[in-house]
Every structure is written in structure tokens, then in C-alpha cells.
Subunit: 327 residues, 2 copies
């Protein structure tokens, strides 16, 4: 049995708890929290909720600790700190600072004889794998990544900070014509505006100036100004009924050429359509937790990403079974 | 430089030659043939064509030998035989006998301190990877593989063996409604007939009985009887103008659920649209030749498949570059 711990108990952690239930070779040993453990109720029977202050008591009881914090402030501290005591895995997704995060985590993990995986999930994660495989098998070509249709947490937060907004949710949507042009092998050069549109569903406070809210959203720099943005005002009831979920997804495409005179075109497309962004990410985390535990048992230490792990390590099946049934 | 040799000089081998030209870290050292070497003319300047009888002379000059034979009779003999002298890679694609081929090649490779990769390409190959990743990240779900639209060599050969047929080509086509049902998360149970249709373009011999040809094709057991098959009779000119290529492709889908009560649905889809089946396969072979050469330099021996190789090994980029640009 693979003994797992979960650090944190937000949406991602709850997804990990569900994923552990779906994987018969996995067992949840404890959930660690910065809150008062008495106030946190987990769903798996018999699993203790433990204050993070006492996490070191569990250092010999857990094979891999799944760290479910945010990338902005939690993970840059938690992952290197906890890699002192545990094999760890996180879903750090600030692409620009991955090299820095990697270096810090790698040093601590190696010093303490642990394995630590960072940036695991779907982007970074499965999408990164597709970019890498695509680039290697079609070295002359172009990469495209589209996100959506799905909820962007950052953009939804930005809407909710606008004056007069009670609640809001933002969907990122790939532009169908852009996607079609890539699929057709046209290799378009696409601007930010040509790749994605943004659709906002807003519950306004009573008496708020709707025109002003709409304008404040559409002209917000970085978040919305560079996109074609639509704003819908809806009632709280409609919001709760139709926009409670956290769906997401997207597309990774590689368009490339082969042949003596580059006369043949090839399109590789990978797409995800996810009802629950955090639960899918969690499922990827648990599969890779299995993988790094095996690698650690083989004597491997240090920081790893999806690029460093042979696919067979993710599966509970033997190499013989994999070759017979999935190859 | 990665020094490569090619065994054989058919369509796949010609594709490997093109792929080597596209990968600046790769160099073609020699092409080996069972034919009279004087009769084989390769495209890369300065590359010798050598009789397979003298292949052992090259055993210290080649890092990886790419074996481009057929799966029916060539590879089951050639791959184990040549793994005595070289690191080798093949595209063995008879799914049912992969375990047997693996065992034979593994024994020879280990005995001689070589690495040998089998069943590399797109199916088996990239499609196998997608099935494995899909099963690991969504352990509760269903797998679907569709092939096409593309030319099936085996079915085209079968058509050409029918009495009265001068030339013929067969396209395998996924049924759009079946694909749509899977994408919609309906998890359909699909019969052979519901998954693919077969479209045949036939040039008949002068005076041949067209009705009989059509009937002979449509009722052919194993090949066509279980499918909705269409037969088009065309002129030799039209055949040469519109059906000279070897396009192929297909779709791998994984449909799965997550959540405490399995309430959330996820669809993973991978697709290939290939102008040239052999050239795409060749490009995958060259990327994995790079990978196994590196593994061999690290001391790894024995038989490997796509499941055993960490993605980073395929790329000419460093781990740092990969993390900075593709993760």
C-alpha cells in the first residue's frame, strides 16, 4: 500500500482524498492543516486531522506527502520546508518561476535523501508532456496551447474585486476559428485576442452601476483589456444554479512537417474536457505520487518533474501487464 | 553526434533518412540492405549502402541501428539477431505477439550488453503512451481507440488479391457519430461495425466483372465482412492522381469519472492527422533512438518500450531548457 498524507484541505486536497479512494493500492494516513484541526472534518473514515505543527510526528508513517497549497505564497515555502521530512509532490503552476522553485526544492530533497516532484497536474503536467513529445517527434513545427472552456480562478477573483460586484465567475474560451486554423495546418500567427475570449457572469450588488462595472472589467489591464470580453449580469439564484462548478480543459497542438523537402504535414492534438479542474489535477498527483515512491525505493533522490519519470512508473500494473494490454 | 544506421530501404527507412536530416544532432552512417547494394541509391550524400552480410564491420561505428523491416517476417528475426551487435530500435506492431518478441529481444540484448527498443511509432507508440497515461490519471473509465482516416496497407493488399483487380487502396474511417458519442461522455459500447467504415478505391482490369469484385471485397471475412464497406471503381489516372499518398491518423480517448460519488466526468482525447504514416513513424523512431542511446550511455541494457523511457530523454534540449520552456 502507498501511504499518502495531504497538506491542506481546500478543493485540491479534497480531490486528492477522492482520488485515493479510487486507487485501491493507496491509503490516506493523515490530513495536515494550519487551521484548528477540530474545525476540519474530512470524509475518509478513521483518518486523523493533524495540526501542521505536529507534522514531523508522521515522518515515518507516510510514503509521499501531497502538498495542496497555492502557488503564489504557500508552495514556494511549504515544498522546500516539507521536503526535509517527507517525499513530497506539489502542483506549483507559476511557469515563470519553476526554475527557481526547482532549484530550492532539489537542494533540500537531495540533502535529506528525499524525492520531490513539482509542477504536477495538467498545465504544468499533462500539457507539458504533450508539448515535449510533440517537439521531439516533430522537431520542425509550431506549438499551440489553448485553455478552456473553463473557469479561471485568477480572473474570477479579479472580477470580485470590482466595485459593486457581489459575486462573479470568468470563463476562458478558445476562439473556434483559431483552433480550426491550427487543425487545418495553416500555422497561423495568433495574437492574444485571436486565441481566447473571456466571458464573465456577474452578480451585482443592489443599486450598483452596471455600465460602470462592465467598463471596469473590460478595461482592466493584464486581465481583460487584451481580450474580447463579454459581461453578463445574472441573479444570485442563476449564479448558484449554473455556475457553481469548476470545469476546465484545453488543447495542446503541434503542427509540423516531415519529408526530404518538408512536403508532408502532421497535426498532433491533445485535449482535456474536465468537469472538475481540481479533481483532475488531484488524480494526476496521486498517479505521480505512486511513481515517485517507486523511484525513491530504487534509490532516486532530488527534484523531479513529469519530464523525468518513465510512464510505466505511474501504473499499478506490472510491466508485463502493460505490454500485453496497453502497448 | 548520434550515429545512426538504417537496416532496409523501404518507405519507413526513407522516412528515417529524412528525419535524420531534420535533427541536427543526428548523423546517418550507413544503410544496410539485403539487395545488391549497387542497386540501392540513397538520398544522403556520402552515405554508403552496405550489404547486410557485412553489417558487423560497422558494429563500432553506429550508436543505434534503426531496423525498418515488416512485422510479419522481418522483425521477429532481424531484431533479436542484430541486437547481438548493435543497440537497436524497431516498430514491431503485431500487438498480440509483443510479449514474445520482447522476451526474445530482451534476452539477446542483455547477453550482449545492448539496449533494444521495440514497438516504437504511433500505434504501438504514441497511442500506447496515451492509453497508459489515460488509465493512470483516470483509473475508473473507458478506453477508445479509433484509426483513420487513413490507408490500411493490409486491407489494400487484400483488395489487390481479388480477381479482376488491377490496383486498389483502402481507407479506414472512424464513424463520426461514434466518436461524437465518446466525446460527449456517453461511454457507448461499440461493435466493430459501429466504430469504423472502410472505403475502397479500385482500378479494375479491362473486362472484369465489377459486381463480382464489389461482392468479393464486401464479403471477405476478417477484412471487410464485419464493416460497412464502400467500393468505388476509378480509372488508373484518378488513382495515381488522388490516391498516391499514405496518410493516416486516429484518436485515443479516455473517458473517466472522479469525485466522492463519481459525479464528475472527464474526457481526454489525443489525435493524429498524418500526411505520411511512414514518415511520422520514422520521426518517432529517431527521437527514441536518441533516448535509448543516452540510456545506454548511462549503463542501461535490455529491451525497452515507450513505457520505460522518461520523456526528457527524447529531447536534444537540456533538462534546464525543458523546464524553462516546455513545462
Amino acid at each position: 500500500m502507498l501511504k499518502l498524507g495531504i497538506m491542506g484541505y481546500g478543493n485540491l486536497a479534497k480531490g486528492v482524498e477522492c482520488a485515493i479512494k479510487q486507487n485501491p493500492d493507496c491509503e490516506l494516513k493523515a490530513v495536515f492543516t494550519r487551521r484548528d484541526p477540530e474545525q476540519v472534518k474530512v470524509r475518509t473514515e478513521g483518518v486523523p486531522v493533524v495540526s501542521v505543527d505536529n507534522i514531523c510526528d508522521y515522518k515515518d508513517e507516510i510514503d509521499v506527502l501531497v502538498i495542496c497549497g497555492g502557488s503564489a505564497t504557500d508552495l514556494p515555502k511549504q515544498t522546500p520546508e516539507l521536503a526535509k521530512y517527507f517525499n513530497v509532490i506539489d502542483s506549483f503552476d507559476t511557469h515563470a518561476t519553476i526554475p527557481e522553485h526547482f532549484a530550492k526544492v532539489d537542494a533540500v530533497a537531495k540533502e535529506n535523501g528525499h524525492i520531490a516532484m513539482i509542477s504536477c497536474g495538467w498545465d504544468p503536467g499533462m500539457f507539458s508532456l504533450m508539448r515535449l513529445y510533440g517537439n521531439c517527434v516533430l522537431p520542425e513545427g509550431k506549438d499551440y496551447t489553448f485553455w478552456g472552456k473553463g473557469v479561471s480562478q485568477g480572473h474570477s477573483d479579479a472580477i470580485r474585486r470590482v466595485e459593486g460586484v457581489k459575486n462573479g465567475k470568468q470563463y476562458t474560451i478558445p476562439v473556434p476559428e483559431a483552433l480550426e486554423a491550427v487543425r487545418n495546418g495553416e500555422d497561423p500567427e495568433l495574437t492574444t485576442r485571436q486565441k481566447h475570449t473571456r466571458e464573465c457572469f456577474v452578480v451585482a450588488k443592489e443599486g450598483a452601476d452596471l455600465k460602470k462595472i462592465e467598463n471596469d472589467i473590460k478595461t482592466m489591464p493584464n486581465y481583460f483589456a487584451d481580450y474580447d470580453t463579454t459581461v453578463h449580469f445574472i441573479s444570485e439564484e442563476e449564479f448558484n444554479a449554473n455556475h457553481a462548478g469548476i470545469p476546465h480543459g484545453g488543447f495542446v497542438l503541434r503542427s509540423g512537417v516531415t519529408g526530404w523537402d518538408k512536403e508532408n504535414k502532421h497535426i498532433i492534438e491533445y485535449s482535456l474536457k474536465l468537469d472538475s479542474n481540481p479533481e483532475f489535477t488531484s488524480s494526476v498527483l496521486v498517479a505521480y505520487a505512486r511513481a515517485i515512491n517507486r523511484l525513491h525505493n530504487e534509490g532516486v533522490n532530488g527534484c523531479k518533474t513529469v519530464f523525468d519519470i518513465a510512464p510505466a512508473y505511474l501504473s499499478p500494473l506490472s510491466d508485463e501487464e502493460l505490454r500485453a494490454h496497453l502497448l
